[in-house]
């Protein structure tokens, strides 16, 4: 069991160290000269700079911590936002399902894709003057708070436990008996999110801290509810609460 806690700690470390500004880092230097501006760079230096920037895009800029939500009692994750106005997010989460009356506890892994169509800025920052350097940041992120009324997400969750299978074992009529995968669950969720945008002068660890909730349901619950009027929406819904840290 100890090695599982080690993995969990490493995931945590990844979450906390995730996120760097998406420009050339200070160690990107040629002949001892740091690549901080594009002025007076040779073609070669610009090419190296572009290469650094491209790889820097792979550095996650989101970390999350979630309670419940059908992916574990707690789950920690990291991810990326992208697209126009950062409307799309991909987050990978690692969760823990406690033992309770099962045989053992289990870890889960979730791949989540979210669409955030709208973001509304709320309130001016009275407690810190806007920075001149903030002008490139869109209005909703310059406001003290931003509110995202709808976050649509689709996520797949897999559980690490040998009692489950992706493809049915051969013993079941050569793999054609139950015709579903017990190991992978597909979920659909909708929620909203309120964020505190931290002005540049006040930033210590994060650019934005958000609280979110999410109501979701999964494939097997949905197909159980469809033919039965006695299974209501309230029966199949699941609530998840979370906190998300973000670096613009």
């Amino acid at each position: 069991m100890k090695w599982k806690w080690l993995i969990f700690s490493i995931c945590w470390w990844m979450v906390f160290t995730a996120g760097k500004a998406q420009t050339a880092p200070s160690y990107a230097a040629i002949d001892g000269k740091p690549l901080t501006t594009r002025d007076s760079l040779t073609y070669y230096q610009q090419r190296v700079l572009r290469s650094y920037e491209r790889w820097n895009n792979l550095i996650p800029n989101i970390s999350t911590l979630q309670l419940a939500g059908n992916i574990g009692v707690f789950s920690a994750g990291f991810g990326w936002d992208y697209g126009k106005h950062d409307r799309w997010e991909t987050v990978l989460q690692f969760g823990l399902v406690p033992k309770d009356h099962n045989e053992r506890a289990a870890f889960t892994f979730t791949a989540r894709e979210s669409l955030i169509p709208w973001s509304v800025g709320l309130g001016y920052r009275r407690w810190a003057a806007p920075q001149a350097s903030d002008t490139h940041i869109p209005w909703n992120k310059r406001a003290a708070f931003s509110f995202e009324p709808a976050v649509f997400s689709f996520f797949a969750n897999t559980i690490f436990n040998d009692e489950f299978w992706v493809k049915e074992p051969e013993k079941y009529n050569g793999g054609d008996y139950y015709r579903f995968s017990s190991k992978v669950r597909f979920h659909l969720g909708i929620g909203s999110r309120i964020s505190l945008n931290i002005p540049e002068a006040k930033r210590r660890h994060y650019d934005r801290i958000s609280l979110y909730y999410e109501l979701s349901s999964y494939d097997l619950a949905i197909i159980s509810a469809i033919p039965n009027k006695d299974i209501t929406l309230g029966d199949i819904l699941c609530l998840g609460l979370g906190i998300q840290y973000k670096f613009f």
Partner: protein
């Protein structure tokens, strides 16, 4: 002011506890079970308190997985009749072994006014379903006596356990046979019929067919046995061993059928298929 703050905090905490807990689900296959558990034990106690004589009537339903409306219908139908003393469920309470399904199905079956008992089906083993079943209901194999009838509820879905656990459990059968013998020696005709309740019957793909014939040998240790089974989603009475031991299979609940077994004062029984 302080009182007010504490009041607000208390209210928020209470709201979270009352409404949040049900909604804050950890995983479809999590091991938390809310509500009533250990139901086999509780229902056996209730059945004992009924003090049924040598004549009684019970219903047999099976394969209710994912048919909650029909299950609620059968519950109200059996309750309305008023002549059923107890109900036996032949397994497959769930389709995928998900915790939610166990909770939903249990809540349907809790509608029965009379005691009800279950046997585990192959679908209940999927994922971590068998652990939820064990906690919610109890042992896979158990036995009880009503009148001059001995009921033996047995797990027969060997395929799900990879033949690593003895299914069917011959030790259980052996001990039960000895127990019935001792009862009948002490007082002849204490047990006149033995009723085996199982999910899959001999010959099914779920049954351990390596012991197809040994199982028959063991069945013959019991006084006048007959069997009730589900799994095949067909209502039929067959005699797989051609030795007079009849296996009564019942349809899935989707096709709205159940058995009513009437036990007469002379301990003979009558089977009736009821459509609802």
């Amino acid at each position: 002011m302080r009182f007010f703050r504490e009041y607000i905090c208390g209210m928020v905490a209470a709201c979270l506890l009352l409404t949040g807990c049900d909604l804050l689900k950890f995983h479809p296959y999590e091991g938390r079970v809310e509500g009533e558990v250990h139901l086999t034990e509780k229902n056996l106690k209730k059945l004992e308190q009924l003090h049924l004589g040598s004549s009684f009537k019970f219903a047999f339903i099976s394969d209710t997985q994912r048919w909650y409306d029909e299950t609620n219908d059968v519950v109200s139908h059996i309750n309305k009749r008023g002549d059923i003393d107890f109900v036996i469920h032949g397994g497959d309470l769930t389709d995928f072994g998900v915790k939610d399904e166990f909770i939903w199905m249990r809540d349907c079956l809790l509608g029965f006014k009379m005691p009800w008992l279950t046997v585990i089906g192959n679908h209940d083993f999927l994922g971590t379903g068998e652990h939820i079943y064990s906690y919610m209901f109890g042992d896979y194999n158990y036995a009880f006596t009503v009148g001059h009838y001995r009921f033996l509820v047995m797990n027969t879905v060997a395929l799900e356990l990879d033949y690593s656990t003895p299914v069917p459990d011959f030790e259980f059968m052996h001990k039960q046979a000895e127990y019935i013998d001792s009862l009948n020696t002490a007082k002849p005709d204490s047990i006149i019929h033995s009723v085996f309740v199982m999910h899959s019957r001999p010959g099914d793909e779920q049954f351990n067919n390596n012991v197809l014939y040994p199982f028959d040998l063991y069945l013959n240790l019991f006084p006048a046995p007959f069997c009730l089974n589900g799994h095949n989603h067909r209502t039929e009475a067959i005699e797989p061993y051609n030795d007079g031991i009849i296996f009564y299979g019942i349809n899935e609940i989707k096709d709205r059928q159940y058995y009513v077994i009437t036990v007469n004062p002379d301990s003979s029984y009558e089977m009736e298929v009821v459509d609802f």
